[in-house]
Amino acid sequence: MAIPEPPPARPSPAAVPAVAGVPAFAGIPAVAGMPVRPARRLGGWLGLLPMAVLLTAAFAVPVVSLLRLGFGDGGLSFEHFRRIAEVPLYRSILATTLTISALTTLLCVVLSYPVAYLMATVGPRLRAVLVVVVLLPFWTSSLVRTTAWIVILQGNGILNKLLMGVGLTSEPVAFVYNLSGVLIGMTHVLMPFVVLPLYAALRALDLSTVQAAEGLGAGPATVFVRVVLPLTAPGAVAGATIVFMNAIGFYITPALMGGPAQTMISQVIADNVNRELNWGFAAALSTMLLGATLVIFMLFQRAFGLERLFSGAGTARSGEPFRLTSRGRSAGGVLTVVFGLLVAVFLIAPILVVFPMSLGSSPFLSFPPYDYSLRWYVNFFETSKWFNALIRSLQVAGLTVAGAVVLGTAAAIGLGRIPARWRTAIETLFVLPMIVPVIILAVGLYYLFAPTGLVGTIWGLAIGHTVLAAPYVFVTVRASLKSFDPSLELAALGLGASWATMARRILVPTILPGILAGAVFAFITSFDDVVLALFLTNIRTRTLPKLMYEGVAHEIDPTIIAAAGLIILVTILLMLVNLLVTRRRA
């Protein structure tokens, strides 16, 4: 698992180095001014088609058929909406949801900069370690993560013991079951969505722009504010968009790590779907959430010019990739490194307690355990269900990654080739699966799949996961396309290269970081999903997260911690092998 280096520098006929403060979308004036040729436009629509078909059939149809229930069975009624308007609880829950999501997004962006900076300015081996640190939390189920966090943060938890031992506090601080608990849990798991695009943006930053600014007398702060920040903003905005949309749909983390004041709307929606069986009301709440999110998304697009940022912010890179300049680190840089390391510790903290916890013998998790045993590991290997579920999870995730990468990449490339007036609308439509509560999609897909026999197969689940995952690839590839210079494409085609050759040798290498980041997100989306699996699989096709959640209303089977421990162990071993191999080669 390593994030590839950006493609090698190549000469660019239209390289206009971005200048501090000047938004860099002036990158490719020659091409931007040209009318889109009809053939190119047709290709664009063709690229959009597969994802559009999937989203229509496996997203719009099932979701709309369920959301319709919000307007009454049969006739048109606004009864449910009236209830939402009349009971103040629902407004306050919506406000809470948006506030928590906004705070999480802010925290993710702020905390991601030091980590991304650290990753961009250290040697390749340390960088590989950092990538693993950023991504490891995902490899464990959300149930394991939250459990580990609670062990760390609870009243008599590790952190409080530490703080009181050092003498910083005399009373236990309430870190969990309140707002801080929710923010910690959500920021932790959503941060990679910002770190990766930000890191890619930093690496794509032309070092000569930094050197030029320094040569003109800019201090480190000025360089950051006027060069680094504007040039990395597209990556940060892409990541922040994903985080915000994602955060709105969260309900497991707030339910377990927050208090009642942090009740989020997806909890209420899931409750109405699953417990109250009041699908009409759940549909009305989802419709309201969808409306509110769309308004915010559009305001965001207007304020930050998402489309502008996505489509033309970068210049074709001509110089060296961003790294430390000869000046070395400034005081601020050193501080950033320290902060980046602290954030890395924050990211890895739950993983560090998972191992010792998995070695405890008591079914009640504690840290440190009262006594040690391999009981849960034995359990994992002795009962075939765990291993089978892991294999199913990997199969479904494999199918999902393949589907999402192909559809998302094609759509992202296609979007740049159609007339600009269509782009905002299509872009908005294509990220909708991120906003709609997953349980709505899950129930809708069950109705869609039941007559076809897809329920209970890994195919049905993989289709559902692809719906969720393709938008990630779409967004990340779209962000990386900004550094692709279309004139290169024209040059290649003009020199007689076929479109396939051009794509293979020029287009794909440029956007590879975006594709890979999207693939990682797609994998994670599938590997961590519980809700779709709950509805679309049975005992033969259940995935690891579904198995982990079984019986969770009553107990937490510590075997899930062992399962997480094993996954982490395998990841770390792979990383070590990778490091050894690269060292030998070097």
Partner: protein, 348 residues
């Protein structure tokens, strides 16, 4: 290059491996997995297969929403599903379950509070007070009643309560002196509901955790984050069995019943009916409590349970004297409103 193609093909082939094919002629039992389903398997499913020759298969995750989806799309694959009283009643309201008549299953031995026209009771579990024996050691004053739970002066320290109103509203009124027989009558009035909510609101500053999963109160008690919890006897028992410093009080409790139902359109209804009759046989019915700390919902089963095991179970005749059964019909009617009011109170 060739090797890579081969590898790709192998991976692709592996991805396409079909799941094992289903065998015919069986009964499918769907429940919540984990230790609970394991107990049912050992106590009832395996003996049933041996006695009747009916092969059983298991599935997990019988969410009411999924049952509804199955019934409405006529793709029911489950013959027996399990749920608490709330799930049962909400399913009944939507017509998801087959009625279970006296001709199908003889339920004459079932406790009155547990009888239902659409389900066969599988077990009784209770909501009661669990407390930390570190905070309230044996020998000193220990909390016994719901009044003690709400009395912060007498028993100081943090509490944990469910984040849903079921059992909490009842406990609050009982603590406030409402006789058990009048609790639901009182709750049905606006003033009574307010009385219950006010009682809970007064305790709010001392509530550290509003739990959403049954494992949480035990975790919080064990870690010392709270000194008292309103939770399920089976979970407290599991904590005590793992030597956590926990005890529970049987002086006052709100029992709930778990049910087995047949979804409408179940493919093997006849086998399911056979199974339901099988688990009501007294000696068989008693078996489940061997594996989990849930009590039988029949009278006959008790003659097959020794005193030592009965000590762990909520439904002994003695303990049911201080019990107020959760009224699932009341909750079916008033649940949505009560949940709204409760959520608003704990959030506000």
């Amino acid at each position: 290059m060739k090797r890579r193609t081969l590898l790709t093909a192998a991976v692709a082939a592996w991805m396409l491996l079909p799941a094992a094919a289903a065998s015919a002629e069986e009964m499918v039992f769907a429940s919540w997995g984990g230790a609970y389903q394991e107990a049912i398997r050992k106590a009832w499913l395996e003996p049933f297969a041996k006695a009747s020759g009916v092969k059983f298969e298991e599935d997990t995750g019988p969410e009411t929403a999924k049952i509804k989806a199955m019934v409405e799309t006529k793709s029911v694959t489950w013959d027996i599903v399990t749920a608490g009283g709330g799930g049962l009643m909400r399913g009944v309201a939507q017509g998801l379950f087959e009625p279970i008549t006296a001709e199908m299953v003889n339920q004459s031995d079932v406790l009155d509070g547990a009888k239902n026209a659409y389900g066969v009771p599988s077990e009784i579990f209770s909501t009661l007070i669990g407390f930390s024996t570190k905070a309230f050691p044996a020998g000193g004053a220990q909390p016994k009643t719901f009044a003690d739970f709400f009395d912060v002066a007498k028993f100081p320290g943090k509490r944990t309560l469910p984040d849903k109103p079921e059992t909490v509203l009842e406990a609050a009124l009982l603590a406030d002196g409402v006789p058990a027989g009048d609790v639901y009558k009182t709750l049905s009035t606006d003033a009574g509901m307010k009385r219950a909510l006010d009682k809970i609101a007064a305790l709010k500053p001392n509530v550290a955790v509003w739990w959403s999963s049954g494992a949480q109160p035990v975790q919080a008690l064990g870690a010392g984050d709270v000194v008292m919890a309103l939770g399920w006897n089976g979970r407290f028992q599991a904590g005590m069995d793992s030597n956590l410093p926990i005890a529970m009080s049987w002086d006052q409790q709100i029992p709930q019943v778990g049910y087995f139902m047949i979804p409408k359109g179940a493919p093997n209804k006849a086998a399911a009916v056979k199974f339901l009759n099988f688990i009501l046989k007294p000696e068989i019915n008693a078996e489940l409590s061997r594996h989990v700390a849930y009590g039988p919902a029949t009278k006959g089963a008790w003659s097959h349970i020794d005193a030592k095991r009965a000590e762990r179970l909520p439904s002994t005749a003695e303990r049911l004297k201080n019990a107020l059964f959760l009224d699932i019909e009341w909750w079916a009617k008033n649940g949505a409103k009560a949940t709204e009011a409760y959520t608003a109170m704990i959030k506000g």
